[in-house]
């Protein structure tokens, strides 16, 4: 499997990371090196093997479905790059 420039650009787009056109060839090249390394996994016979979901056998704890936290608006917003009137502010989303 070889990553072309178009795929590299698509992956950057999916990851929401801006990559300059000029940097795409180097990026595709690095992807190919890493994916080439990963390709080794193809040698392993995994017939009938379950994919791991939890590294330690444990059942996730359950709790009652009720509110246990809240009323911390100030703290929640304290690190926001742009907070106004108790909300996170972002550029216009709808035209």
């Amino acid at each position: 499997m070889s990553i072309d420039l178009e795929t590299a650009a698509r992956v950057a787009k999916l990851a929401r990371i801006r990559v300059d056109e000029d940097d795409l060839p180097a990026l595709a090249n690095e992807f190919n090196t890493i994916l080439g390394f990963i390709e080794q996994l193809g040698e392993v016979d995994v017939e009938g093997v379950e994919p791991m979901t939890s590294v330690t056998p444990m059942r996730l704890k359950r709790r009652e479905d009720k509110v246990t936290d809240g009323h911390q608006q100030k703290k929640v917003l304290s690190n926001a790059p742009d907070a106004r009137e108790g909300f996170f502010a972002v550029p216009k989303v709808v035209e």
């Binding site: 990371i17 791991m52 790059p81």
Partner: protein
């Protein structure tokens, strides 16, 4: 009198209890050492006011007869831990200015036990790296040098600042985190001890996430005894981390008897890599002989899927990172890019992430995005998770056959020069974790113990891998190895 900053936790604890020193004196000694060690770039956010306040409080506790083992002990904290009101950036530009409103469970546990925080420590950005060269703060530097050669060496990564600070006696011990070897590799590169406990022993709550199914916190210390003391204070069940184990924490230090008679130590043949330096081979053979002399039975074992651990890791870790790091969007915290007229929310995300993430982080996020994307999920991600099952089974099989612990080298080489890997492709750097990454994939406890010096005078470490939840037994085997190796070397001060 020895400089107080050079004490181990155990030595300092005994002196504090005996009233021979105060935590304030220990803390001042460390703060002075930190001030004089700018060249190491280990501490990146100093918190002397907090340290002095905590030391004063610890002294009051001690005076009342409090004998908590970590009470009054000055520590460095890896920048990956959220510490309330103190910059916690994971060494990334995207978290510039971030000051958490909360405390991570591990640091809270340490503070509850009376520990003192001297400041935050350098690391690879989001813990992605093996040389501390991806940090937004610049490289941390290893206090060790190749004899009289002044070439700056890496302290390893990602917990490079922690390793450098402990090795140079800037603090008594430090916290680290380990996703593929990030505690054990830097510990080995700097001649200190570092343990990654069983997955679930330490709460991950408040630790900036890299790959959640692999991340674990652990102590980086000057001795195995210190690792036992500090680990006990760090771990324990936490309802805020759903993967945190609801198990009692044993008294690890009490388990250090040094008696390993009858223990069965496995030597895995797959860890004998082509082109492994002769000195690493010798160190490994010496370590094996030491454990045998101490009464352990040595057995050759096979972990057949070892070769596939790194490729599986470089699917699973980036995939999880890609999901975890999606939260850095310029909305809730950290950096937001300056926008042009007409830029919408997508431009804000894309520019913010391009500016805020360094090169290695961008690369891993995108590799992760790719292996999770439609059409490749089965071929890469599910395949890697199946291989992970097999890697874990390799270990389960040898433990079922009666193996108590596994001895391997900690790293494939001694510390290399900063910048020496700049021209290498990313996979070359990934190979640093070849001996450690299997342990994360299998969720096992692993410890790096300094065991000797190479021809250039640089420290080399051995790794012991234990059964799940049996850190106490593992620490005891490490203690026996430490005593037999008699490693006492310290870097000559040049900084």
């Amino acid at each position: 009198m020895t400089d107080l900053n050079t004490l181990t936790i155990a030595e300092a604890r005994d002196k504090l209890r005996a009233g021979e020193v105060t935590s304030s004196e220990l803390t001042e000694a460390c703060l002075t050492a930190i001030e004089g060690a700018g060249a190491l770039n280990a501490f990146v956010h100093n918190t002397p006011e907090i340290a002095r306040e905590q030391a004063k409080f610890a002294d009051a506790r001690l005076q009342k007869g409090d004998d908590a083992p970590m009470c009054g002990i000055p520590l460095g904290i890896k920048d990956l831990f959220c510490t309330k009101g103190v910059p916690s950036q994971a060494a990334s530009g995207i978290l510039k200015g971030f000051k958490p409103e909360y405390e991570s469970t591990v640091t809270q546990n340490l503070f509850d036990a009376g520990a003192v925080m001297l400041g935050k420590l350098n690391m690879d950005e989001f813990a992605m790296g093996s040389s501390n060269e991806t940090s937004v703060y610049g490289n941390a530097v290893n206090p060790w040098r190749r004899g009289n050669d002044e070439t700056a060496l890496t302290p390893g990564g990602s917990s490079g600042g922690s390793a450098s600070a402990v090795s140079a006696d800037l603090c008594l011990a430090a916290t680290g985190t380990d996703t593929g070897g990030s505690i054990r590799q830097p510990a080995a590169f700097t001649g200190i001890t570092g343990i990654k406990p069983t997955y679930g022993r330490c709460s991950r709550w408040g630790i900036v996430a890299f790959a959640s199914s692999l991340d674990q916190a652990g102590p980086m210390t000057k001795s195995v005894r210190d690792a036992a003391i500090m680990l006990e204070a760090m771990c324990g069940h936490d309802p805020k981390d759903s993967t945190s184990a609801d198990l009692a924490v044993p008294d690890f230090e009490a388990m250090l008897t040094g008696d390993i008679k009858g223990k069965v130590i496995g030597i895995p043949k797959e860890y004998r890599m082509d082109g492994m330096p002769e000195e690493i081979e010798k160190l490994w053979a010496d370590g094996t002989a030491m454990l045998k002399d101490a009464g352990a039975e040595i057995r050759d074992i096979s972990l057949p899927h070892t070769k596939y651990a790194l490729p599986a890791y470089y699917v699973i870790a980036p995939a999880e990172a890609s999901s975890n790091l999606a939260r850095y969007d310029g909305v809730r915290y950290g950096h937001r890019a300056k926008l042009e007229q007409g830029d919408g929310i997508t431009e804000m995300y894309e520019k913010t992430r391009a500016e805020g993430f360094g090169h290695e982080v961008q690369r891993r996020v995108m590799v992760g995005t790719y292996v999770l994307s439609a059409g490749f999920y089965d071929a890469y991600y599910n395949k890697a998770r199946k291989v992970r099952t097999l890697i874990k089974k390799d270990f389960e099989d040898v433990f079922a056959d009666g193996i108590d612990a596994i001895l391997t080298p900690a790293t494939p080489s001694a510390a290399f020069g900063l910048g020496e890997m700049a021209e290498a492709d990313p996979v070359q750097m990934y190979l640093n974790d070849v001996f450690t990454v299997t342990v994360n994939l299998a969720g096992l406890p692993g410890i790096a113990v300094p065991a000797g010096l190479d021809r250039q005078g640089l420290p080399l470490g051995l790794q012991l891998i234990g059964r799940p939840w049996e850190e106490g037994d593992l620490l005891n085997t490490a203690y026996a190895l430490e005593q037999a190796a008699g490693y006492v070397a310290k870097p000559a001060k040049w900084w």
